[in-house]
């Protein structure tokens, strides 16, 4: 497919004896929102982290269009092989930005400094320009007046929105979300989801690991259901949620939607 932004083929990853990813294929087209759902331990977060090199797969290929194609084979043993792997991961990372489950904001920097750190330090954007853009982005998520606050002075939902702005400020090709609402109080979830929905509507390319099935259903273009380290089922949300083909998909959806049964 010509408009694939990111293609992952046969991604494998083990932690010790635990074979977490068992050959996962994933294709993300420009402007598409892909949701990864599945029970805990299914490998969805590990898959997401493999896409930007926070995890190094044991086997498989990752390729951005017009960018590096990286093939992984075996754990690096020598120092030189490790450094080469590190260089490959860095190349992958430059194309994407991630929003973490626990925001991971820099506690010793103000909100605005968090947002401008990457552009100023890494991308060499002039500080004044980065700050102007940073303030505009903060304004978009309703946090303009918090620019000079420290992260600890914000609520969980506000912190997570800053986390999103920090990712946006890098102007990446791809946004990765790792369960961005699962550590939030229920009443704060909506703010974050509505920001994410806005980004999807604007045409950002996103891969989202989430437990918010409602969100996946209304925003995602494609949903992948992971179970036991493989893609058990994939499809358009309308089909996958309403008429799952696989029995384990059905069971998973049932457990989430009717937890008391």
């Amino acid at each position: 497919m010509s408009d694939a932004l990111l293609t992952a083929r046969g991604i494998h990853k083990s932690f010790g004896d635990n074979h977490v990813l068992r050959g996962i294929d994933l294709e993300v087209r420009r402007g598409q929102v892909v949701a990864l759902i599945g029970p805990s331990g299914s490998g969805k977060t590990t898959m997401l982290r493999s896409l930007n090199g926070l995890e190094t797969p044991d086997a498989g290929t990752l390729a951005f269009d017009g960018g590096p194609s990286v093939t992984f084979e075996g754990a690096p043993r020598s120092g030189r092989a490790r450094r080469a792997a590190e260089a490959r991961r860095t190349a992958l990372r430059d194309r994407s930005a991630m929003v973490f489950q626990h925001h991971n904001l820099f506690p010793h920097k103000t909100v605005l400094q968090n947002v401008t750190e990457g552009p100023v330090q890494v991308q060499r954007v002039p500080r004044a320009q980065a700050e102007e853009r940073g303030r505009a982005l903060l304004d978009r998520v309703g946090l303009a007046e918090k620019a000079d606050a420290y992260p600890r002075q914000l609520s969980g939902g506000q912190q997570q929105r800053v986390g999103i702005v920090r990712a946006l400020a890098l102007e990446p090709d791809l946004l990765l979300f790792d369960e961005p609402t699962s550590s939030l109080d229920p009443e704060l979830v909506g703010d974050v989801l509505s920001v994410m929905k806005g980004l999807a509507d604007e045409g950002w390319t996103m891969v989202v690991v989430t437990h918010e099935l409602q969100f996946a259903r209304s925003v995602a273009d494609e949903v992948l259901f992971l179970d036991g380290g493989v893609v058990a089922e994939r499809g358009a949300p309308a089909q996958l949620f309403s008429a799952p083909r696989e029995e384990r998909t059905r069971q998973f959806l049932h457990r989430i939607l009717h937890p008391l049964d």
């Binding site: 860095t90 990372r93 930005a97 330090q121 890494v122 420290y150 990712a167």
Partner: protein, 217 residues
Amino acid sequence: MDVELFLDSWWPIVLGGLTGTIPLALMSFAIGLVIALGVALLRLSTHRALRAAGRVYVSVIRGTPLLVQLFVIFYGLPTLGVTIDPWPSAIVAFSLNVGGYAAEVIRAAILSVPQGQWEAGYVVGMSRQRTLRRIILPQAARVSVPPLSNTFISLVKDTSLASLILVTELFRKAREIADFTSEFLLLYLEAAIIYWIFCTVLSFGQDRIEKKLEQYV
């Protein structure tokens, strides 16, 4: 108790502290921190040989008495034709010593910063080195102030050992007067009181640094 001797000797001993003990401690601590940061990074390196080098350094420094280290440098090295004056000898010995102890403090402080901070640094595009410098070390600094203050206060008192390699400092002044007057108890207690005052004043400094670094926590 000879009150007059106590008062007369007060200023000479304090002066010994201000011109000997304090500058010796400050200089050794500053140099020692640089060594400590280097050794801590060796201990955290991905290269096995560098990690081992860091471990050996810490082990040797912590496993041998400071007094012996001082004597090796000042009285031992001349045998090899390396003669170092009392002051530089003391600074070398104390710096190396602080380097060993503070390295462990700094290493622990770096490890106490959550892994997610490293990952956030990587995600905004920073290298490991830049993440360490801009994200991890500032947070580690906050954590390491109380234990490093401990190291510093110990150092202030340990500098009394320098009197044994002919450095003129607080305790050497007290000893000179004691030897001259034979009022050993009086002079040594007086030295103890002055050390105690110095250390108390210095720990106010710790509070101020902690408050300054605390603002974001």
